[in-house]
Amino acid sequence: MGRQLSEAIIDGILAGGVYALMAVGLTLIFGVLDIINIAQGILVVLAAYLSYVLSVHLHIDLFLGLFITVPAMFVIGVAIHWAFIRPLRGRERTSMSLLASYAVALIIEGVLYTIFGSTYTNLRAWYVTGAVKVFGFYLSYIYLLGFALAVVLVLALYFTLYRTQFGRSIRATMQDRTAARLIGIDVNRVAGLTFGIGVAVTAAGGMVFGATGGGFNPNTGYDLISRLLAIIILGGLGSIAGALVAAVFMITLEGVVDVLWSPSWSVVVFYGALVLVLVVRPQGLFGRTAARAQ
């Protein structure tokens, strides 16, 4: 049991890294645009299918394929923002954009079902099946590579946000949209690009998720989005550090409950933790209390 437990914790931390990546995209979009992109879950699945098509039909390595899927998902993100989010105005903008992204999710889900059906798919490569012994535990290469990829991308995102001019405009927009516009930031452009970046990280997340999880089908999107939402609420909406911590914590917790109790209840514990935190701290772990009161 002790051995299983430590294995669960290691797996949880490694898989948590991938969830952190997907959650950071979601929370970044929220921070800048004040909207919650419900389509994030199905976009991860879409990215996983893109990787699948590239690797099976064009025989492109999964990691090399990212050079195609990341830009592709970026373009899809910018397009979704341009067509469905940007035109929304008025008092109900936030709620409407949430519903719009839900509608986009439904459409993508329906299209994926039509093309790929409901059978579960897995991404395959030598590093998915091969394993390496680290400190007495057998770990699949993909867990390590996926974690490394997540770390690299999160660092790159941090660098962009805190060390570049564009990152400064993003943070300025997150703090105060009107003030950012007044000092000459093209808020619409920042919003569009942020949406693109937030969706682009799903390409990497989707690839690793598709290779590590127990397979995916279009319905997996619901499972993913509900977890991601729980993570970003727990971390505090709009907080990047919060999303990172909450992702690793929640996924590890889930793995531990898997071992100690039962896999069918681990997800309930997952949401139970969310509810408990909200009772004590409605703004989440790292959330700001009075931030963006309308």
Binding site: P87, R91, L106, G110, V111, L274
Partner: protein
């Protein structure tokens, strides 16, 4: 078939509006009561039941979300709870046939019982976090339905067989649904005109200011949430009787949450007649798509596309937009002066324009104490 509140407008302006409106409602009710005698085809009779059920649900949803501005995407929780509660009771009490209709109110009690703790937690947070929490709670309930032993897991719960004659098989369901739908609409109308309703609309416009003016926001929001949940629970229970089986993914169905919201948004979010109209349009359309196309996912894609179209091009819904157009058109008409149009036509036009303006529900901003909402 028209919604009860938007009665036939094209009569002369001599008849008082009130009489006209009552006549419209009377005609609509007569049509609804006669429907099962005219439409005897079993399939279309079932469409009628489903449409009424969804109208009731959309109106109930709107009574909370539309009036308070807190969008709930977790109302299927109450739907499923109602269905399962009544299902389990039927099983344990070994009830058969028409008896089980007496259990319907218990579906509402179950929905309300779940709504109290749900609302106490979820209504503490800001609006968009609320939406997300309703989605999360929804998934918890779906998982519980799958995993608890007493819910029947994957095989769900089935109704006992009803041995009614095939010709009128759907009638008991139809009239139960009709009573439920009409009752919900009346309740929604009463809430709209009451102090309680005004408090809800004030919360929707500016919650902090409403609180400052003495509205007990939490109590008001929670009451509306629980009322709405109770009706949804009854709808769920009746749906289970009609369909005959409750599965975790058919009663706790995420597409339901979205359909309901779409019905309200299509007709007019936060208006009285909006969700009625939306339900009357969308539910038959969805049923039609389901039976016409073999690709089961086409309905889903269509729902998504329709939703996007409504949000982009008709964001305020049919009823507020139509009313706005008519008012603008009437103003244009008056500017042009009476000599431009023949007198008879002008009279009829005034009647037509006055119809929706007077009978239609007011928008939230007009009737609230806070004057400074940004628009």
């Amino acid at each position: 078939m028209s919604s009860p509140t938007a009665g036939p407008p094209a009569a002369g302006s001599q008849i008082p509006m009130r009489t006209l409106r009552l006549a419209g409602i009377g005609v609509a009710l007569a049509v609804l009561i006669a429907y099962p005698f005219v439409i005897t085809d079993a399939l279309y009779a079932e469409f009628g039941v489903l449409t009424l059920l969804f109208v009731a649900w959309a109106v109930a949803w709107n009574m909370f979300s539309g009036y308070s501005g807190y969008i709930s995407l977790g109302h299927a929780v109450f739907f499923g709870t109602g269905a399962y509660a009544v299902g389990l009771l039927t099983e344990h009490l070994h009830l058969t046939g028409g008896q089980i209709f007496w259990l319907l109110p218990l579906g509402g009690v179950a929905g309300a019982a779940v709504a109290v703790p749900f609302g106490l937690i979820a209504l503490r947070v800001r609006r968009h976090t609320f939406v997300v929490i309703t989605i999360a709670v929804f998934f918890i309930f779906q998982l519980m339905a799958y995993n608890f032993s007493f819910t029947g897991g994957n095989s769900g719960l089935s109704t006992p067989a009803f041995f009614w004659s095939p010709a009128t098989y759907n009638n008991p369901f139809y009239y139960a649904a009709l009573i439920l739908a009409v009752g919900t609409v009346v309740l929604s109308w009463l809430v709209r005109g009451s102090r309680f309703g005004l408090q809800l609309l004030a919360i929707r416009d500016d919650e902090d200011r409403a609180r400052g003016l003495g509205v007990r926001a939490m109590r008001v929001k929670l009451s509306a949430f629980v009322i709405s949940a109770a009706i949804t629970g009854v709808v769920g229970a009746l749906w289970w009787f009609l369909i005959g089986q409750a599965l975790p993914n058919t009663v706790f169905n995420p597409a339901f949450d979205l359909s309901i919201a779409l019905m309200a948004f299509l007709g007019g979010f936060g208006t009285l007649a909006g969700p009625i109209l939306g339900g009357l349009i969308l539910e038959p359309l969805q049923q039609y798509v389901t039976i016409t196309f073999t690709n089961g996912y086409l309905g889903e894609i269509l729902l998504g596309v329709l939703f996007l179209l409504v949000i982009l091009f008709l964001p305020r819904g049919i009823i507020p937009t139509a009313r706005e157009r008519l008012t603008a058109w009437r103003a244009w008409r008056e500017r042009r002066g009476p000599q431009a149009a023949p007198i008879g036509a002008a009279g009829a036009d005034r009647g037509a324009a006055a119809g929706p303006v007077v009978t239609g529900p007011e928008t939230g901003t007009r009737s609230t104490p806070s004057a400074g909402s940004p628009r």
